[in-house]
Symmetry: C2
Subunit: 369 residues, 2 copies
């Protein structure tokens, strides 16, 4: 490659500009927790800064979250011209996955989902094929996750959302049947095993980079990747829903010590837990062809690739070492390839990917105020 | 007025195009309710089609909702150049009001709110003054409603959201302490009184019309309205938060028989309840000057004005006749002007506004599948 490597700031996402607001908002949000006392409700303090918020309503633990798809619908819009399909059934699954895959990290069983479909004008909803795909994909993903689609909002916001585009998000409410099921990190310990769950492809993170790359490809989204599919269609493989895995684990009596949804920040998310541990990875997954393609054609090294993309691992479970193999087996039985990938060790906070002789230090992940 | 009257389709919102999707989505959503059975949870069926979704978790009733601001932030963006203020503290309150004012209609006490702030690029978050106003306004509205700000999402979505703009939404979770508190409409009866709660101004509905009108005004948002304020600043009065009213009513042992948040469709929303009743209004509020200004300058008649704008009444409570005066008094003590405005009668489904010799028939409100 003779071109400049693409990275996130080249792709238009500048985390330095977003993070100060996030920290300001996190502090203000935390200051409102006292409002619950008058209702006889309390928050689970450790859930602040985690992926979902948990409240204790007289012993009933309720988790909630709102998450957005990001820009993946722009890929669907572009690929439709090549494939002749809207791909909004997949996009619907992606959007729900963004919410429920975060909700389950705290130990919750998702119960309901609300849709947020905010279009750039009323005309968006007049495309019947796309609309039917979006609705049917949403319903199907709800059925896979065993959640009820409780409602939603479908505004037409010309002037806010771009003409012909849609801003998709989902909120979800779940229940944690008992305090033993809370996975907020207090159980994580040196000696625990790291079980990774396979990703179906790019999921819905790293999409800005993937879209930027298209500008470099003479055939754009129609470019064939190593498995013979087009780049565009491979990008649109829907995000894996990990709810059936966590539900199967709970049914088998296995409560992870911690969980991390591998989204933005790629494998750096493996050290999401606030404490200092070394996360040593010994076994890598096969990298989905679409992600190998991106790494190669964007000209990025392993540090950049594993630090921003899922590279084949979409979810990390941290479990007692003697439950690791069973955990992986249960996940596979629930339909998601899984493997014992590494272990948690005492030591400086870092992710060490031994097969790649690569490590990420704590300074490379800033998620909390 | 010699100009063509402005109405909603001229203002770019075409409900005919949105509604078929809504109905398709409502049917698909309803089909997912069976997913709850495996979790030992059930939905409250009457909450489908109401403003918030309610689930019964072993006796704990949880309500949830996701709502969007709409296009009101575009007004703030334009008025900032005149007023020198960002107005995003007000915009934050508007966004939270859209969610909690709907959540309380089912009898819920709101507990938590999630923020959804989806910007047209990372640069949006780099404007420190606007960012601080948004955060402080959000926190303040949470404090007024006694809810905990549980978290949120702040994506930068260049290509989806317009450059320099932000798509704002809120989701909220609440609890209904007992089944007696559910206000899903089974209690509504002929003879009930209609208590209306005052609106602070346009709130966040009818904003497309208000923005369209600016194009006709030589001085635009800087035009003075009857109270001496500028049109732009008056539009930005934040939406009234009605949570303190419903909480005060509950504390006094008054459970409304039904509630309706008066948003899109204006006073037609008074007949939101699915049954056939005649809603006869005998006492009108003073119309906020900004709404009188819109009616006059948009050249719309009372039918159009009351059928699409709140015209001074932002929330309707339907209560037992012998509790009506006390209900209005409690609302006023909670800081919101309120009055006994009419009564529910047996008869054809319609809203009759006697002082205006105006009525809306059932055919003029289609909200349900």
């Amino acid at each position: 490659m003779t071109q400049t490597p693409l990275d996130y700031s080249a792709a238009g996402v500048d985390y330095d500009k977003i993070d100060p607001l996030k920290i300001l908002a996190q502090k203000a949000a935390s200051a409102t927790q006292h409002n619950l006392a008058g209702h006889g409700v309390s928050e689970i303090p450790a859930s602040r800064g985690e992926s979902a918020y948990v409240m204790d309503l007289g012993g009933t633990l309720i988790a909630s979250i709102t998450e957005c798809l990001g820009t993946k619908a722009l890929v669907a819009d572009a690929v439709r011209a090549i494939s002749g399909r809207t791909h909004y059934d997949s996009i619907a699954q992606d959007t729900i996955a963004m919410a429920v895959n975060d909700l389950i990290t705290v130990g919750a069983t998702p119960l309901s989902v609300h849709a947020y479909w905010s279009a750039g004008g009323s005309g968006w909803f007049a495309d019947e094929e796309r609309m039917r795909d979006l609705v049917s994909g949403w319903q199907k993903a709800c059925d896979v996750c065993k959640v009820s689609w409780g409602g939603g909002e479908t505004p037409a916001l010309a002037g806010v959302v771009e003409e012909g585009r849609i801003d998709l998000a989902a909120s979800s409410v779940g229940v944690i049947p008992s305090r033993d099921r809370l996975t907020l990190g207090d159980k994580l310990a040196a000696g625990d095993a790291i079980v990774l769950l396979a990703a179906s492809g790019i999921h819905a993170n790293g999409v800005s980079l993937a879209r930027k790359l298209v500008e470099r490809l003479p055939e754009g989204y129609a470019t064939r990747i190593s498995d013979g599919r087009t780049y565009g269609e491979a990008l649109l493989d829907p995000t894996t829903l990990y709810v059936p895995v966590t539900e199967a684990l709970f049914a088998a009596g296995i409560v992870p010590h911690y969980s991390a949804n591998i989204t933005g920040h790629g494998w750096r998310k493996i050290m999401r837990h606030p404490a200092s541990f070394t996360y040593r990875i010994h076994t890598l997954p096969d990298v989905p062809p679409v992600l190998s393609f991106i790494q190669q054609h964007a000209g990025i090294d392993d540090r950049e690739a594993y630090g921003s993309l899922n590279m084949g691992a979409g979810f990390a479970l941290f479990v007692a070492a003697d439950q690791a193999e069973e955990c992986a087996r249960i996940a596979r039985e629930a339909g998601v390839p899984a493997w014992v990938a590494g272990r948690v060790e005492a030591g400086a906070k870092q992710v060490v990917i031994e097969p790649l002789a690569l490590s990420f230090s704590a300074e490379e992940l800033h998620l909390r105020a």
